[in-house]
Subunit: 286 residues, 2 copies
């Protein structure tokens, strides 16, 4: 395994960790401030959210690279299926393609996809995943042309009803294999997979080339909100070394992206403090 | 698959569905009222909770059987490990043995075990499960002597931090195999496993003889509480036919036990209405 205590260049920041730069969360930093603060600390990359980018994708991408960082990802495609997806399906597809185009302009390595919940009335994750696979397969050539991959992110099974009918790494690998397009990959997030003792086996099946990202946070033993109460690495029950070993055993050597949704704790702190602690924990417990 | 529209005798009630008979939930029925109401509707069995039984285990067991019903289970052993388990370990073990003795007196077919969360400070589900396996192996002969099985229940991964380091059917089968005692079985609950497309495969590995129970409810797409907002069968996104097919393909022919924790909805209704709807849904959507 890589030794982050002597080289933390694989550390990346997902801007959600600073409250999406929203005024009132942290200091409400602009993307420029985030870029400069990450560069000053030797982070290797940043993942942005569409809401921060607006029409300035090219500009922010260039700004990031000029500061010596990469754009490791863009969050995210719209929900493709289920109760929270744009309707009709063509509207979801249009927004999906628009998000791919934004990621390409930004120069992002991947676009993250949270696929959306079980199709209304279907009572079937299996059928819902088939619809997801069709839509992702349709969009894959556009992603390839834009120089990025589509990163299917299996979400924690608690989101199965409305946010993601894709809830296991096993199913994500099955979908990737069913689609069989080089621009379709998987993102692995500690929050979503920490409980899965079969993770290493599934990632071996996938292979490191098809792992688009590895997202860091922790699962708090007494979590009080499954959307906005993620923990800082080391503060929870996840076996972070075991998880990274699984990802690296599959061949992954990319960025480790800190993504902490924490409305009541980390989003209320000074972003400088949050970044400093991310860095210290990355070097010691990840 | 069995046809419940023509024979609903495999239907069982877990008393939690009526708010644990607590005054203020439903009508605050006594165990005697629950037994009579289930018998009148042709239910096949009842699963009780320790809190309702007190020192009257033998009496309630006989009362149930005299009404033509079986006692399919007792809920439940204490958490064995993790932050919510009695401390020290010997105290958890003592209460575990006391719950086995109560189940034996009641004449229950099994004692349900929710194993408890990740051991504090361990950051390891694997090590926590090893401790669980040791404790269950130690208690298994007492269960066998009492004529019941110890039903390990994998809980939904959302409970991994504090209530159950056992969160997949796969892990449950691994633990059962590691212990290798005939009195150690698994209980499958729709709420906890509905998202697992690998369920059938794992249950085949387990075999029907080691499935101690199949619990019914539904997962609501927009659930607002992962403890007390379960849905009635048919009201959520779970593929109930697919799940029962998986259980029966493994050889299970036992009771299907309705267990709905629903503080804001079903617990507020007249228990007679709740039981009538359970029966109707059992015959039509399960």
């Amino acid at each position: 395994m890589r030794d982050f205590s002597i080289d933390h260049s694989p550390l990346a920041l997902n801007t959600a960790t600073l409250g999406h730069n929203v005024e009132g969360n942290g200091a409400g930093w602009s993307p420029e401030q985030v870029i400069d603060a990450c560069a000053a600390r030797g982070f290797g990359a940043i993942a942005f959210w569409r809401r921060e980018i607006g029409t300035r994708a090219r500009e922010f991408g260039e700004r990031t690279r000029a500061a010596g960082l990469e754009v490791c990802g863009l969050c995210r495609a719209p929900f493709l299926v289920g109760p929270l997806a744009p309707k009709p399906r063509s509207a979801a597809m249009d927004d999906f393609l628009a998000s791919i185009d934004m990621a390409a302009e930004l120069g992002a390595a991947c676009l993250t996809i949270c696929v959306g919940g079980v199709v209304e009335g279907s009572h079937s994750m299996r059928d819902s995943l088939k619809m997801v696979a069709e839509m992702v397969a349709e969009a894959a050539p556009r992603a390839k042309a834009g120089g990025l991959t589509l990163a299917l992110e299996p979400l924690h099974p608690v989101y199965g009803g409305n946010r993601s009918c894709l809830v296991t790494t096993r199913d994500a690998v099955d979908v990737v294999e069913a689609i069989g397009h080089e621009a379709v990959t998987v993102a692995i997030d500690v929050y979503h997979v920490w409980w899965d003792l079969g993770l290493a086996e599934q990632l071996r099946r996938l292979g490191g080339d098809r792992i688009a990202g590895y997202h860091l946070c922790d699962w708090l033993a007494d979590t009080n909100d499954v959307l906005l109460d993620r923990g800082m690495m080391g503060d929870g029950v996840a076996d972070l070394k075991f998880l990274r070993a699984a990802v690296e055993a599959a061949g992954y050597r990319g960025y480790c992206e800190v993504e902490i949704f924490s409305a009541a704790n980390w989003w209320k702190r000074d972003p400088n403090e949050v970044l400093d602690i991310c860095l210290e924990r990355f070097r010691t417990v990840c």
